[in-house]
């Protein structure tokens, strides 16, 4: 690799690694805070950092993302300010949804990160429609949408992939295959490997080791390139592992043994560190300093955000229509 490229790669990988560490640190902080009652609910992202950041590395700012409730690493790498994420989780006055949505339901229009819903896979047809806009308007932007492997059983997955293929749209379906849908292991969810489902739509499907930052990046980059060149959609099956519980309400000991311990060889943070070390981009000192800095950033941001007051109660009952309905106006007068 020429020096110039190597230096670019180093910058890119350090940015990626930083996002991974920040995200892991934030994740742990929120989980602890939830237990302390400072946060209502949360869907941890632990274990899915490398694949999300790898995919994000392949995107441009103008590309659209229809993410899901587990996409903090992706958002951080993309440049969504950490306080936006924390404010959302706290549902305070600065939350994009003013406390209307549950925690983990992010939205950041400035960074083209669309509003997250709870019903799984229902973002996929929307992503397809938005990809249609890009093609129709010749924007040269593409759309990426994320979802879990359990969500591939949902009807919207089927609808979206077929439509994307038929209209040859610039959209990438990134399956964050963490092996579990709450208590349902992927082997019982479906008998086929996820990436092979693409062939049912005449679409390209590929698998990536989701714990390998660079592999996910390369696979996504290829998909992005094809999409931008008008060569159509790709389904990426990024295989990783859900290291945490499904959510802070979930007790995984009911249905599984822990298989990947934090800090073990299979932890994507450790795998990414090894990668960067092997390339000579970072060393233990760097790792320590970045983790210390991450702790401080996360703690500071968290405390800052915790001070932001709740939105005015009335904000939970407005903004349903552009022009309000008289019914709601009347009802709100009664209930506030």
């Amino acid at each position: 690799m020429p020096e110039q490229d190597k230096s670019e790669e180093k910058t890119r990988l350090i940015k990626a690694y930083t996002a991974i560490v920040l995200s892991r640190t934030l994740d742990n902080k929120i989980v602890v805070s939830q237990r302390q009652g400072r946060v209502g609910f949360y869907t941890p992202t632990i274990g899915q950092e490398a694949l999300q950041v790898g995919a994000s590395m392949a995107l441009q700012d103008k590309d659209l993302i229809y993410g899901y409730y587990r996409d903090v690493p992706l958002m951080l790498h993309r440049g969504v300010p950490m306080e936006n994420i924390i404010n959302q989780i706290m549902g305070n006055r600065e939350d994009s949804a003013l406390g209307r949505q549950m925690p983990s339901h992010y939205c950041d229009k400035k960074r083209n990160f669309m509003s997250v819903q709870s019903p799984v896979a229902t973002n996929l047809p929307l992503a397809v429609g938005s990809a249609y806009t890009q093609k129709y308007r010749k924007t040269n932007s593409i759309v990426l949408t994320t979802f879990g492997e359990g969500s591939t059983s949902a009807p919207d997955f089927h609808a979206a992939l077929n439509l994307a293929a038929v209209y040859n749209l610039p959209v990438i379906f990134l399956c964050e295959n963490n092996g579990w849908a709450i208590s349902m292991p992927v082997e019982k969810q479906t008998l086929a490997e996820i990436w092979t489902k693409a062939s049912a739509y005449g679409m390209r499907g590929v698998r990536a080791n989701g714990n390998d930052l660079l592999e996910t990046y390369e696979v996504t980059r290829e998909a992005v390139k094809r999409a931008r060149e008008g060569k159509g959609p790709t389904l990426i099956d990024a295989v990783s592992f859900r290291m945490g519980p499904h959510s802070t309400s979930d007790d995984p000991t009911k249905y599984r043994d822990v298989i990947v311990e934090e800090g073990s060889d299979k932890d994507p943070v450790i795998i990414t560190e090894k990668l960067l070390k092997s390339k000579g981009y970072i060393d233990d000192k760097f790792i320590e300093s970045i983790k210390t800095r991450a702790e401080k950033i996360v703690n500071d941001k968290f405390e800052e955000c915790a001070k932001i007051p709740a939105a005015d109660p009335s904000s939970a009952f407005t903004g349903v229509y552009k022009e309000s309905s008289w019914m709601l106006d009347e009802e709100v007068k009664d209930l506030l």
Partner: protein, 322 residues
């Protein structure tokens, strides 16, 4: 001005919308080369191309979901569901995505989509080509539910809906598609949403109805010389409560007519809203003349749909009540 039936008027409205604004995209099953199973989109694909009048695969939730995604990125999609009876696989997209998007993103993302679909009986369609499901949509905050009762309104309401910045469920009474002709303005004009129209005036009672039943009620009142107001709601939600209450305060007697089954139908909401606000004006019980609480039958559809006889039974009961 040209004399048109409702199919022609809607076709004309869509044509105009497509011409005036390249953000407008039509999508649905068989709407392109085939011109729609009711011919509402006839000729439009040829005129505006396959990328603006899109034939889709057979997947209602995909049609609606894609349309929402288009709307979120600046287009103005007008999806068609071939029969309203087939809309239920798309209910999640309608209820959980379209209706809630503005609220949950605090206005960052909005869904200016007009979801067109023919509804109601009268074409011998049986259980699955005759349903009137307006109540499902009317109960969903975030949706605006519109149904025209004639060609002129159909075009004018459609153009208003396309201009509206929130999702509109646009229910087309298929029984009226070709049965009524009216003079329709050739160019652009709008009939406002959220405004009822008083299609006949009188002092003795108030008939409240919408969509497919409006001509039936009008004909009944004319034939039997009923001296009453007939209110065509046009927009069910948000309902034009002012017009309704004003009439009820004048007449004190109310009959509500719709084709959908009675229990939990939109007539219940109309009745409840009136009782809440104008009980003291009521001189008689509020009556509902509706479809029965059974699936829509193939052979006996003329019994299912409210008719002259049943409407007059209610009218007479109201007038005799003291």
């Amino acid at each position: 001005m040209t004399e048109m039936n409702m199919v022609q008027a809607i076709n004309n409205g869509l044509d105009l919308a497509l011409k005036l604004d390249d953000s407008v995209i039509l999508l649905g099953e068989d709407i392109g080369i085939n011109g729609g199973v009711f011919r509402v989109t006839e000729g439009l694909q040829k005129k505006y191309g396959e990328d603006r009048v899109m034939d889709t695969p057979l997947v209602e939730l995909g049609i609606v979901g894609m349309a929402i995604g288009m709307a979120l990125t600046g287009l103005k999609p007008v999806p068609e569901i071939q029969f309203q009876d087939f809309i239920y696989t798309a209910m999640d997209q309608i209820i959980n995505q379209a209706a809630k998007m503005r609220f949950r993103s605090n206005g960052d993302y909005t869904v200016p989509m007009v979801l067109r679909t023919p509804y109601g009986g009268g074409v011998k369609g049986g259980l699955y080509h005759s349903q009137s499901g307006e109540a499902y949509f009317a109960h969903t905050a975030g949706l605006t539910v519109v149904t025209p009762s004639g060609p002129y309104d159909a075009k004018g309401l459609l153009l208003s809906a396309i201009d509206y910045e929130d999702p509109v469920i646009f229910l087309e009474p298929k029984r009226l598609y070709r049965s009524i002709k009216e003079e329709v303005k050739d160019g652009e004009y709008k009939v406002p949403l959220r405004k009822a129209s008083v299609v006949r005036e009188g002092d003795d009672l108030t008939a409240i109805t919408y969509g497919s039943m409006v001509p039936t009620v009008k004909n009944t009142f004319e034939k039997h010389k009923v001296n009453g107001d007939i209110i065509d709601l046009r927009t069910l939600v948000p309902m034009d409560i002012g017009t309704v209450i004003q009439s009820v305060e004048k007449t004190g007697r109310v009959v509500i007519i719709h084709e959908a089954p009675r229990t939990g139908g939109f007539g219940a909401e109309i009745s409840a809203s009136i009782t809440e606000r104008a009980l003291e004006s009521l001189l008689a019980p509020i009556l509902r003349v509706t479809g029965p609480d059974s699936p829509f039958p193939y052979k006996m559809e003329d019994y299912y749909i409210p008719d002259d006889r049943r409407i007059m039974k209610a009218v007479n009961k109201l007038l005799e009540f003291r």
